[in-house]
């Protein structure tokens, strides 16, 4: 177990190193951030002064080595756009992103799983196709549209929920639904096919023969045995939710990492972009690691590290 963990951690480090190196150089290929910092009327001398103050006049390789040194000291640097330490900026954004991702997962789980089970049990019937239609419609709606529609209906007309912002549970409802709708279809489809697979197995037939009723069968046997694909999908979805909430966060003015990423990329806030990418890489790596470990808990047949 620990040898397995160690191996995965090492892999994670190598991946992360590759990712930050790529990000470091790609960003610097895209242009000069000082052009955005200074007013249009700034002269060439102003630009030179700003560049040297921020250290962008140094050779690229020197900047890169300094950057790696900072990384080794867990120093994420300073945002010259937001004028604050990057670690502080991330710390303020991470809880928001986790809240939203949690809310979205909850929506996706609470609707997607039952929908998948019902679709599997009613396979071939009209109701199954209806549910699939609704689920796909939810997934296909662009968030910038569904988000604004929700805001108009529940925020402006009915005034049930605050149109945007953060702070209370009520604020979390609409962004969670908007984001959750995207994952919901994935869950419904995965659950459906996993349950259909299980339905064809011998133990299900035996259980039915013993007179086990469907609800009990689903709860006791089917869900647990269908859980593996759902868990691996969750690992993928979590990284999607962390990175892909960009539009939802922008529409609902939700101050999460997605919004931060877009703004930082647009304003050439190198230090922030690097940190966010690094965080995203680690989040993905660890979500997958967690999924691997969870497999063994759910299904004892899976043995880690090839024992």
């Amino acid at each position: 177990m620990s040898a397995f963990l160690l191996k995965r951690l090492l892999q994670a480090m190598v991946t992360a190193f590759g990712v930050i190196t790529l990000v470091f150089f790609i960003q610097r290929l895209t242009g000069d951030p000082t052009a955005l910092l200074l007013p249009e009327t700034a002269t060439q001398e102003d630009f030179e002064a700003m560049r040297s103050a921020l250290g962008f006049d140094r050779p690229l390789i020197e900047q890169y080595i300094a950057f790696l040194g900072d990384m080794l000291r867990f120093d994420l640097g300073r945002s010259y756009i937001q004028n604050a330490p990057v670690a502080e900026i991330l710390a303020s954004r991470i809880p928001q992103t986790l809240q939203l991702a949690g809310g979205a997962l909850l929506v996706a789980f609470a609707i997607g799983l039952p929908a998948g089970v019902v679709m599997a049990l009613t396979r071939g019937r009209a109701i199954s196709r209806w549910i699939m239609g609704v689920v796909l419609a939810c997934q296909s709606m662009p968030t910038f549209w569904s988000g604004i529609m929700m805001i108009l209906v529940f925020g402006v007309w009915l005034k049930w929920l605050p149109p945007s912002g953060t702070g209370t549970l009520a604020h979390l409802v609409m962004p969670s639904i908007a984001l959750g709708l995207l994952s919901l279809a994935t869950y419904a489809r995965i659950t459906r096919s996993a349950v259909i697979d299980e339905l064809g197995r011998d133990y299900v037939r035996s259980a039915r023969a013993r007179g086990v009723r469907t609800p009990r069968l689903v709860r006791r046997h089917l869900l647990r045995n269908s859980a593996i694909p759902v868990v691996s999908i969750t690992a993928l979805e979590i990284s999607q939710l962390l990175a892909g909430a960009v539009i939802v966060e922008t529409v609902f003015a939700w101050p999460g990492l997605g919004q931060l990423t877009v703004q930082s990329v647009a304003s050439r806030d190198f230090a922030v972009v690097q940190a966010v990418v690094l965080l995203g890489a680690f989040a993905t790596i660890f979500a997958n690691l967690a999924a691997d470990i969870l497999y063994s808990v759910i299904d004892p047949r899976v043995r880690l590290g090839g024992q």
Partner: protein, 496 residues
């Protein structure tokens, strides 16, 4: 309806009506959070909308655009390079310390220190030194005669020397202490900044006990917040958004012409626009009125000079552009082979792409061969500031120097020394230089009038219109938008 219910409804209605009189706190939706609350660091609307309320400036502009006293109550040009400012003696910072000449000197020295690397350095680096003559008198020395000094000092906020020196730049930015009508209350990163009224303010502090500036990046969401009543003032409205607000009783759109001048820039070193005749044809191909009224419709004013009535140096009597596509076609067809040279129109997403596309269409309609190249902002800036040979044939810009002086736009865009400029005209250079250093307003005004005429006659670039700014506001909010896009809480109020 029962009498009891009637009574209940009446009291509810009365309570609702009474709300505005209770001086409700103000909520403003900006497009982003401030980059800095230290007024000497970043200079962009999302930042200065907020910190201008925490700090006082040396001087300010009233709603009509006149430079009026704030911390400085009087100023006198004692020599070509020396300005003597007399300060108020009744100003205290939010921590109770008195504001003195030392703080003003410190503020000037801090923002002009190249080591401090303020993005605003270029606006103040002509100030060579600042010294406190006594507690309420400051002498500023410029490195030459500098007529735009007072216009620049409108943007110079006074920071408390003792606080900045004690806590350092980073902590000061996170929790600024000023002397303005509102004191800093809290900054919820990525979400909002809250201010509370400074009841000890030396001037009018305004009616709101508190104000919250929120970061709401999506324009449609800001509009929804306004309509839902969760925001009282929102920025970044376009004319479509303004049209949506029309006919709704509790919200309104407010607009004002700004000091931004939009123009079409042309590369004078490359075909087709190295030919004055073809530049003239381009000017005739553009339907300026159609763009300002049909496309934009927020109160933009067509201009044929690189200034607006909001600027010193605006000249009356510059002939408007003539929209005559048929005449343009004629000129172009006589030089069809040059006109057909492929021309790149460099632009970036921040510019209104409707205008860029309209311009392309109008130019191509008369026979030019224009294609649009959209890049992100830094790449765009690199392109338009590069040497003529590498530069795009066309670009669209909207300039503001935030100084309301013709020098701020005309010099960088027209003087051969500037890397923004594609013009190389010794006569123009001479006039721009003269106007830049003369302390005689009449001499300057006359020089700029000539500059505008030369640009108009030679079609060096095509000024298009004075941009407007649109805000959405709760209908009971009294707010006068200004040309310098200020947002002073102490100039707003709730109407009865």
């Amino acid at each position: 309806m029962t009498p009891k219910l009637n009574l209940l409804l009446a009291s509810v209605a009365a309570a609702t009506l009474a709300l505005p009189a209770m001086a409700k706190d103000l909520t403003v939706d900006l497009s982003g959070e401030p980059s800095s609350l230290d007024p000497q660091v970043q200079w962009n609307p999302d930042s200065y909308y907020v910190y201008r309320n925490i700090f006082d400036n040396l001087v300010t502009r009233d709603n009509d655009g006149n430079i009026v006293p704030q911390i400085a109550i009087a100023w006198e040009q004692v020599s070509d390079t020396e300005m003597l400012l007399t300060l108020r003696d009744d100003v205290t910072f939010h921590d109770g310390q008195k504001l003195t000449a030392e703080d003003v000197v410190f503020s000037v020295q801090r923002i002009t220190d190249p080591e401090f690397a303020s993005p605003q350095l270029g606006q103040f680096n002509q100030i060579a030194s600042a010294e406190a003559v006594d507690d309420v008198t400051v002498k500023l020395t410029t490195d030459g005669p500098y007529p735009a000094l007072m216009a620049q000092l409108v943007k110079l906020s006074v920071v408390p020397k003792h606080v900045v020196e004690e806590v350092g730049a980073e902590a000061f930015n996170a929790a600024p202490v000023g002397s303005g009508p509102y004191r800093f209350e809290g900054w919820d990163r990525g979400v909002s900044v809250t201010l509370t009224r400074n009841d000890d303010y030396w001037g009018e502090a305004g009616p709101f006990e508190g104000a919250t500036f929120r970061a709401v990046p999506d324009a449609a969401t800001r509009l929804a917040n306004l309509q839902a009543g969760t925001a009282d003032l929102v920025v970044g409205l376009d004319s479509d958004g303004a049209a949506q607000l029309e006919g709704q009783g509790d919200v309104k759109a407010l607009s004002a012409p700004t000091e931004r001048v939009a123009y079409l820039g042309m590369n004078l070193d490359k075909p087709p626009f190295n030919d004055p005749e073809l530049r003239k044809a381009a000017s005739m191909a553009i339907d300026n009125l159609g763009i300002t009224e049909g496309l934009l419709g927020a109160g933009e004013v067509p201009m044929a000079q690189l200034s607006s009535p909001a600027h010193f140096g605006y000249a009356e009597g510059i002939e408007p552009w003539v929209f005559d596509p048929d005449a343009a076609k004629e000129i172009v067809s006589a030089k069809a082979d040059i006109a057909a040279t492929p021309a790149t129109f460099a632009t970036a997403p921040v510019f209104d792409q409707r205008i860029v596309q309209a311009l392309q269409q109008m130019l191509n309609d008369v026979g030019f061969n224009v294609s649009i190249s959209v890049t992100d902002m830094p790449t765009y800036l690199n392109i338009v500031r590069s040497e003529p040979a590498d530069n795009a044939e066309l670009s669209f810009g909207r300039w503001s120097c935030a100084c309301q002086d013709a020098d701020g736009i005309a010099y960088p865009l027209l003087h051969s020394d500037s890397n923004w400029s594609r013009v190389n005209d010794p006569e123009l250079d001479k006039l721009l230089d003269e106007a830049r250093v003369s302390l005689d307003p009449e001499v300057r005004q006359d020089a700029y009038a000539q500059v505008h005429q030369i640009v108009r006659d030679n079609y060096y670039l095509l000024p298009m219109y004075q941009a407007a700014v649109l805000y959405g506001a709760a209908s009971e909010l009294e707010f006068t938008p200004t040309a310098n896009e200020s947002m002073f809480l102490n100039r707003m109020s709730w109407s009865e």
